[in-house]
């Protein structure tokens, strides 16, 4: 079909990494503190948010990110020990995934065999 496969993969990878770096810059500016180990947890949270919303859906990523942040905040308020917020957020994410296995806003596709 004339699509340059290699180029497309490279550009998507570069774009994705660039966006992550951009959010890294804003995270650093906001918290005024950085360390080399902070990325893993944030990366997992980003992945959770994208998957929760539905991979391949732009609005899904936004909705997923908002929901995850909301869950963490609610968790921090509800429990007497604020550290339970991650436990709460991840537990709800697992339940939401059980309810909508392909994310909240995933486009409907049928599997062809």
């Amino acid at each position: 079909m004339g699509i340059d496969f290699k180029k497309t993969v490279l550009i998507t990878f570069a774009l994705g990494s660039g966006l992550a770096a951009l959010s890294g810059v804003s995270t650093g500016l906001y918290y005024q503190e950085i360390n080399f180990g902070m990325g893993l947890m944030l990366g997992v949270i980003g992945f959770s948010a994208a998957v929760l919303g539905g991979l391949g859906s732009v609005y899904g990523a936004i909705v997923g990110g908002l929901i995850f942040a909301a869950l963490q905040t609610i968790g921090a308020i509800w429990f007497s020990v604020p550290a339970y917020k991650d436990v709460f957020a991840f537990a709800v994410v697992i339940m939401l995934m059980a309810w909508r296995p392909t994310g909240l806003l995933a486009d409907r596709t049928s599997e062809r065999v």
Binding site: L40, M41, S48, V81, Y84, F90, I94, M97, P101
Partner: protein, 386 residues
Amino acid sequence: MTVPSIFRERWPVLLLGLAAYVSTFLFLHLEQEWEIALLLGIAPLVLYIAKKSGMSAKCRQAVGVAPVFTKVVFLLSALALIVTLRHEHFALLLLATVLLYATISLGLTIQFGYAGLVNFAAIAFFGIGAYTMAVLNQSQNGLPDLMIIVIGGVVAALIGSLLIFPVLRTKGHYAALITIAFGLLFRSFLEVNDILGGPQGLKVSGLNILGWDFAQSFPAILGGGSFYVSYTLLALVLLIGVFSMTRLIESSWLGLNMDSVRLDETASASFGINVARWKIMAFTVGNFFAGMSGALYASMSGFVAPASFNLSDSLLLVSIVLLGGMGNAVSVIPAAFLVVVLPEKFQVIQEYRLLLFAVIVILILRFKPSGLMPRPLRRLINTSSK
């Protein structure tokens, strides 16, 4: 005097066992970095020469002809390893850790390699077993320690069954996310939970099986040695049990069904295979193995703390399975050995050792993309019989 024919066929197996013994002994015994580096340089060379001279083909054939004999030879070389290293605490600790990691990886082999279920929370199930041991061992309830190890596995399998529903409904990235989320959830939960000791964790007393106190040094009647000898032996027994079970699952209709579920769910379902049933079975059995291994690990290390159950450890276990060759039960043992021992042997270069380790793993996968020992094709007809 003529050499008995049985020996003529089987000597490559003996050679293989000897090679395994010598290389693992050297790796565990040597302390200097340059010695380890030299070994790492020689190993591929030896393998290359063996391949060129037709030696590896001969070994493979001999192993295929005499599977039971091979098992006995390797068991003996493992025992010889423990005997020769019996006074070295650290080497034995490493060896026991390798055995326990190999046990979890066998669980992962069943999940990933056979049924195709991704599990990035293996260390969480390991941790559940470890905490079960810590809690049950503390509350003097008279449960025998061997039973607690099994209970550790059962608890891990039970808690894992909470995940069955979401894991069954999702696929690919989505299923991976569920297990990653569970791993993180488990760790955060342990850190904030005061009953289970919070970030400090819990102390675990040593094992005591039938009056044999594992915290004492190894009985002098049996040759004496570090107290780790007992733990290493028990870990070896656990590994042998789990390994045989994995092989039995693989070679039976259970494994056949799991393989077909992994390769094509839709096709399996249309042939009347209950996809959910096999996935549940693989997931539960894998978690059970991880839990048992965790229970033994807890009593060996003497304490459990959330810091030992990170996401990165789960990734390490996944890398053992991938490095070994997915679905090949034998391969997890050398792979676990490399993954556990290499970083420890390069302590001097501090955190760079992880970098070096990562480079070695990437190099291995670059030249052998399907792992050190890729899974052989399933042989449905026994061709070796004469």
